[in-house]
Chain length 350, copies 2
């Protein structure tokens, strides 16, 4: 079977959060788009979520428990396929931290990674985990801050290397803008320290490789400066001159199509592709978390997608958390999950 | 005459840049909105700019040389009024740095500030200066990085105090978003050092005072964190806990309506007022230049406005530079200048 006919896995995420109900809502809104996908999760939890959307006297969306991945392509649209890769979970109270839910969600992520890495599925789309539940679950889950590190560990196991040998970067994308971050969840002080020649170069190379597959050509990578006006020739900081430009030169030598460093306050506007128009760049490499996330989220977070670059698997996720405050109320929007699924299909199509 | 009937001054900016032609284009596009304004500049330069827009055989927009400010209200729409406060300037070549143009532009800014500070005009809108021309002009102009410091000096002279006693902040605004910056043109490292209790508190107080006049009520001030997720409870940096929250508490005691510190990646989206809808906040206090400018500029820079807060005068300016590369080609958009004028009228109306 060619890679793009292989099923796409959707991990259910923390069972006390909005993961399950956004999957149901996605099936209700766009059944065709959900074809050839399978939820790695718990069938009872998925049925509880499906029931949220059934009005009085209505039948909930059917949830089918599969025996194997081979059955996925045969599941009709409008039916949610579940692969129960872990023993059944007692559905936890909505919005409550639960060690059992944390462990279950973590196990599904590892299992999904194994399946994709072994070539039985083409990609994984991950519904949100809850950090505290993961922590309450104990080892091995408690040692991972989130998905990225879990996937890095899974890939390293498979490739028999150290996780550090697999440099990972996060790409945030919506319909108008893509940005890849040099660093993510560290203080701004530490983020400045993370702007090193090696890290910037790695980010450029990882970005080039990942988007080259997706676009079918070399991506036009714009590099944002670290400082206002990209340092204004050294007046407002020298990182551009001392670090970023040399890393860009090496990336260019290695075949990347990079430009910059551009003034951070206008590079995202220039890369923006409103209503399908072309932007000046295909992707912006941002030097720190908020530099990239402020513009990606500015027009609303409903359709943001998170993509893990640098691993030997395709993984996307919606750009929101477990939203414990509204879990179980059928209010959560499935737009970001649908976009994550679409992005996964784009990345697999190559 | 009540303050809102007093004329508004428009300084011509560097004569080799796009200032003069954007003023002409603004008069052409919205003659009514330009009523009761007067250009502090050079009549020959303004006539040269007006001629750029006259097609073959067409008459250029008339440029009237006034004798005094008292004549301004009588100038008909469609006529550009100029007050020649300095000896006539030999129009410089478009797009060339010129010491004469720098000195002339600087003198107009100081003169405009004096006129507004003395109560003979209600506000000043400043077309862009060119830093190198200002520097080439020699003292006193060469000692000022830009408008803000010149206006601070002019106000300090009038109030007989030290410039440092007049804390100034920059507000960037467009139709959808207002943001006030704790620091501006310094490296990101120095910007982090500038996040002190005193600087944050001063920014909050200056923001409150300025927008309270403009809105007629206490503005809802959102405070952005410095770090990703506003520090995530100290995990990604402690500036929020150690500095920002104490400054917010003091501002609250002094009557400000502040909230936060919010996660920087979503606070601007929450404050956004698309198509006149209300946002959650009236203004976002940003901890550094790009944090605030990336979202303000993301949707396009044509309509950005720069407002100097904290001085005893109203000053706004378009959010673009001299654009030497297109000066003299009649291509520059007057939208930002028109927005700056509108913003000045809003700030004066109180």
């Amino acid at each position: 079977m060619s890679p793009n006919r292989l099923p796409i896995l959707i991990t259910m995420g923390d069972a006390a959060g909005i993961g399950a109900e956004t999957i149901v809502a996605a099936h209700l809104q766009q059944p065709e788009q959900l074809r050839n996908t399978v939820v790695l999760g718990d069938v009872a939890c998925m049925r509880r979520a499906a029931a949220l959307y059934a009005g009085p006297g209505q039948t909930a969306l059917p949830v089918a428990l599969l025996e194997s991945l081979a059955q996925v392509p045969q599941v009709p649209p409008g039916c949610i396929a579940v692969l129960q890769v872990e023993p059944a979970l007692q559905p936890p109270a909505w919005g409550q931290v639960s060690a059992q839910a944390g462990a279950f969600a973590g196990a599904c992520v590892f299992k999904a990674a194994e399946i994709v890495l072994s070539g039985q599925a083409s990609a994984m789309v991950t519904a949100p985990l809850h950090k505290e539940a993961l922590s309450a679950a104990g080892l091995p889950y408690s040692q991972y801050p989130g998905h990225t590190e879990m996937l890095q560990a899974a890939a390293a196991r498979r490739l028999q290397c150290e996780p550090a040998a697999l440099p990972v970067r996060m790409m945030l994308a919506n319909a108008e803008l893509r940005t890849v971050l040099v660093s993510i969840h560290v203080s701004l002080r530490k983020a400045i320290e993370a702007v090193t020649y090696e890290q910037v170069l790695q980010t450029l190379l990882v970005t080039d490789r990942a988007l080259r597959s997706a676009l079918g050509r070399a991506p036009r990578i714009a590099v944002a400066g670290l400082n206002p006006h990209a340092g204004e020739g050294g007046l407002f900081g020298r990182e551009e001159i001392d670090i970023i430009v040399p890393a860009m030169q090496e990336a260019t030598l290695q075949g990347c199509q990079v430009s910059g460093p551009w003034s951070p306050d206008t590079v995202f506007m220039r890369a923006r592709r409103p209503q399908g128009q072309d932007g000046e760049f295909d992707v912006v490499v941002a030097m720190y978390h908020d530099q990239g996330l402020i513009p990606v989220k500015y027009l609303g977070v409903d359709e943001g997608v998170n993509v893990t670059l640098g691993l030997p698997l395709v993984r996307t996720s919606p750009d929101h958390g477990t939203a414990f405050d509204i879990a179980g109320t059928a209010q959560a929007s499935p737009q970001s999950l649908l976009q994550a699924l679409e992005m996964a299909r784009v990345l697999v199509r190559t």
